[in-house]
């Protein structure tokens, strides 16, 4: 039901944009720009979604992306000298990507460990790791950006295979994998059960701790992949980049029909939410809204969507259609 509503909203937003701003909105350049921003943001949204499905939240996704980006950036810049041959450069790039993936898994593991085994509530755990990861990134780089990556690496961020940009391909693959995990594997089912009712899940034989750790490992991994796209797109890594994504990630997830208390949500809903947001973002850019006004709108929209969800839930409950939860 919620997915249908999200779909209607997406089509509606597109229609409104197309009708009122035909000149600048319906251009190839505009859609290419949208397509280039969807992947890195969408991966963060998927990461946050997984955390939310378990009834938690991961406020550290952007910090994880920052820190892993720094790790990759350092490998890319410190180990490369101009005399290197093509093969060696590719090797360094692979090393950098491995560094990013490894550090993202470590970050995720830390979150998972704190939440599952120490028993820290996800809000506070990820609030703390948000500061910790960003802090480490700042200390390593001294607050400055790291730039100057090899061209072969930049292909990830700006290259195309055919007419499709590489980041979009990566995003589509990750989306399919996440959807597969959530819908067709036992881990996915466990996540949904855990989010719906942790106590019942535990008594049903699900190893809550293991599921939680795996969830946050995936969250960290997705954030790491997002940072690969991020740094290869802008050819630099500066700690502090991307913080606006945090609020908008939560917005798209809620827009996409995920229940913040956990247990319900679809990947297609989140992807549509991401698309809606990017459509709006492009519309706002065309209308030259100030970044402050946009900040206001995103916050306002989050509140609006939450209230609308509440009204819908109340309506469904009255009609007897809502699957009630204890």
């Amino acid at each position: 039901m919620k997915t249908i509503i999200t779909f209607i909203i997406m089509v509606g937003v597109f229609a409104i944009m197309a009708i009122f701003l035909p000149g600048k909105f319906l251009t190839v350049i505009n859609f290419q720009s949208i397509a280039s921003q969807v992947p890195e943001f969408g991966l963060l949204a998927l990461a946050m979604m997984l955390a939310m499905m378990t009834g938690g939240i991961d406020l550290s996704v952007v910090s994880t992306a920052n820190l892993t980006g720094v790790a990759g950036a350092i490998v890319l810049t410190k180990f490369i000298n101009p005399q290197m041959g093509e093969g060696q450069i590719i090797l360094i790039i692979i090393l950098a990507i491995l560094a990013i993936i490894a550090s993202s898994l470590i970050c995720g593991l830390m979150n998972g460990f704190l939440i599952a085994y120490v028993g820290v509530p996800p809000i506070l755990a990820t609030l703390g790791t948000m500061g910790l990861f960003l802090g480490i990134a700042i200390v390593i780089t001294g607050g400055h950006g790291v730039t100057g990556f090899p061209d072969e690496f930049l292909f990830i961020g700006s290259g195309k295979i055919g007419i499709v940009p590489v980041p979009l391909i990566i995003f589509i693959i990750c989306t399919l994998i996440v959807a597969l995990v959530l819908n067709k594997t036992s881990l996915g089912l466990s996540i949904q059960l855990l989010g719906s009712n942790p106590v019942a899940a535990s008594f049903a034989g699900i190893n809550n701790n293991s599921v939680l750790v795996k969830t946050y490992l995936m969250t960290g991994l997705l954030a790491g992949i997002s940072s690969i796209i991020m740094i290869s797109r802008v050819n630099s890594m500066r700690p502090g980049y991307g913080y606006a994504y945090l609020l908008t990630a939560i917005l798209v997830i809620v827009l996409g029909g995920v229940n913040p208390s956990g247990g319900f949500g679809t990947v297609s809903g989140v992807v549509m939410g991401v698309i809606i947001l990017q459509l709006l973002q492009s519309g706002f850019n065309i209308l030259a809204f100030s970044p402050f006004f946009k900040k206001f709108i995103w916050g306002f929209m989050l509140l609006l969507v939450m209230v609308i969800n509440l009204i819908i839930a109340g309506y469904q409950q009255r009609k007897g259609k809502l699957k009630t939860r204890a």
Partner: protein
Amino acid sequence: MMNAKIKKIFKHSEIYLFLIIIVFSTIIASINPSFLTLENLFDLIKSSAGMGILAIGFFIILLSGGIDVSFTAIAIAGQYISANVLIASGVDNIFLAFLISCSVGILLGAINGLFISIFKLPTLIVTLGTLSTFHGALLAFVGTKAINTAGLPDCFKVFGHKNVFVLTRANGTSYGLSVYALILIGVVIFSWLILKYTMLGRGIYAIGGNRESAVRSGFNIVGIQFFIYCYVGFLAGIMGVMHISLLRYSNPMYIVGTELTVIAAVVLGGARITGGIGSILGTLLGVTMISILEKNLVLMGLSSYWHKFFVGLIIIVSVSITSYQSKKRGIESLTFK
């Protein structure tokens, strides 16, 4: 008899934090002897009073089992709006500034209260949304221009310098204990009275401890929650005016971004997010520790870049300790949470 009393004191977690502060201060004093002067102490009180007030507000919300990250936006909104109104109207009265700032604070806090207590939406997401909404609205609709010392009404500067009493140094110059200490003490006493001696206070602890039980005990959940979010807004409004008078400068981009520091101070003081546990004394000790740490990071050879790292680390360590204790207790008593 003495042994039993000492044992009882050690049961409270605040004593450990107090001891850590003593140890830490001793280390710093050995590196920098001027740390232990009265003047430095007064300065510490003045500069951390604002954070202390915000921390008390956040602590009360945490007690009720909720979380509010929008208090920084409320503080800067109260500050910036009151400064602009004073400048535009030409009235140079600090009480008017407080009135405007606190009114803005209560209004914004009421918006939080509306979504949280009446619509019953999750507290973190609501306040993340209102943080963005309030700050975005302030910058988009009120303005982004900073107010420098020259353009600032005198009442702020006078207020910032007001002292309770003054002492003179050997060379004739003077220093004093700022009125900020009085305001902090006032807020502390008022909050403490509410928490300890009113039904409202009992209700806050009850909601945080076990919401369902609180409902069935007949507490007015909606009213209590609405009150505390308005109260946080009120405190944020006070802090906003204190902040502008301290800095003699107002930039609408300030204060927002310091949420993590305040949260670290509160959780360091032993308050639990599951609600129902914590004390104002603990919160104040947490603020003291964080303030001393912030001011003396440079002394320990660490640049200000380390700030976020330490704040994050403190949050993780503090929350790990209290959460693990909670978990152990939960397992022993077979409550599944």
